[in-house]
Symmetry: C2
């Protein structure tokens, strides 16, 4: 158990920088983290790449993946499907890497129910004002799309109490380190260390019997 | 809630170095941590000081404190009473400091039941061999006392799964930093951050109504 990686969900408001945090984390610690690549039916944005940012699917293709149970979780968000292909995640975890999933709240709840050890992290800018400035600054969405995302953000805020930790993305580099520390500390949770204690216990029993340890 | 300190329990095998970790932590971050001073009926050891290491009490005095409910928890350990005077802990928490309690498992369970947000940390040397070497090296206990402590350590090992984190004390300075990180991260738990999210949510609602934020 200790040698298997952890499943880490990063959710957060659009414009929270969660995608950037994940990329920086995998770039800084490539041996420790793997990025899960989601499948989606939304349109490709300028600068995005098939298989790196997403697997872009038609609605029909996505629904076939659902039927074949090839997804760890899936959800709809602003009219599109988003989901996590299962196979890649399982392969990475078995090599000991932590797998980072960028999914929203519906998916996070599905994953936590199936895998209770999943660490759920919620990323937010320090304020609503920063969030809106980033959205407008990105310039990839219309005002109507931004308003739709803000409505969605309000719903997400209301469900955010299911998450384990809140990560406030004020300074990006500090935020990446904070995220790394939270994940690394998870390794020290007693549930992952019971074997370490058991070995000491057995050795002490041998000592009390007069055996060499 | 966010401005109140956290109650932190450090338990661990005799010889684990938990006392040293606590002292180093408060010395390194005096504004952040306060050390709780326990009351005990055990004899004072060379180098120990009344009111700094313990409040040394007779059995009768200790039992009076129990009756007057002046203790946050108490327990017996190798034939002596140990307990945490309530007043000092509450004063320190209200100033925003984290209060470190060095207590054993019976007391830890009592505290966690009364205050579920208490963080329970269990400290261990990296191996049983290190543990025994430290006990013998300390030279303050007879072989019979060491064997009594080892028997107790086995019991503690068997109950250690109630703790939140395991801290392996191999390199002392690293261990102190690790302990500090675990405690600081606890602050990012969603349960302590719900107000941050609520403020953003309310601001977004105002934005959608066309108000200035």
């Amino acid at each position: 158990m200790k040698n298997s990686g952890l499943l880490i969900v990063l959710s957060g408001f659009a414009g929270s920088g969660k995608g950037t945090i994940m990329k920086k984390l995998t770039a800084a610690y490539p041996d420790r983290y793997a990025l899960s690549v989601s499948a989606t039916t939304r349109s490709i944005r300028p600068g995005e790449e098939e298989g790196r940012d997403y697997f872009f699917k038609t609605k029909e293709e996505f629904e076939t993946m659902i039927r074949r149970k090839e997804l760890l979780e899936y959800a709809t968000y602003v009219g599109n499907y988003y989901g996590t292909p299962k196979k890649y995640v399982e392969e990475q975890l078995s090599t000991g890497k932590h797998v980072l999933l960028e999914i929203e709240i519906q998916g996070a709840i599905q994953i936590k129910a199936k895998f209770p050890d999943t660490l759920l992290l919620f990323v937010t800018p320090p304020s609503a004002k920063t969030l809106l400035n980033r959205m407008h600054g990105r310039g990839t969405e219309s005002e109507d799309e931004i308003r739709a995302r803000m409505k969605r953000a309000i719903e997400e805020a209301q469900g955010s109490d299911v998450y384990d930790y809140l990560i406030i993305n004020d300074d990006l580099d500090q935020c990446v380190e904070q995220t790394n520390r939270i994940i690394e500390n998870e390794r020290c949770r007693m549930k992952y260390c019971l074997e370490d204690i058991y070995i000491i216990e057995e050795d002490l029993k041998r000592y009390l019997k007069g055996e060499e340890i």
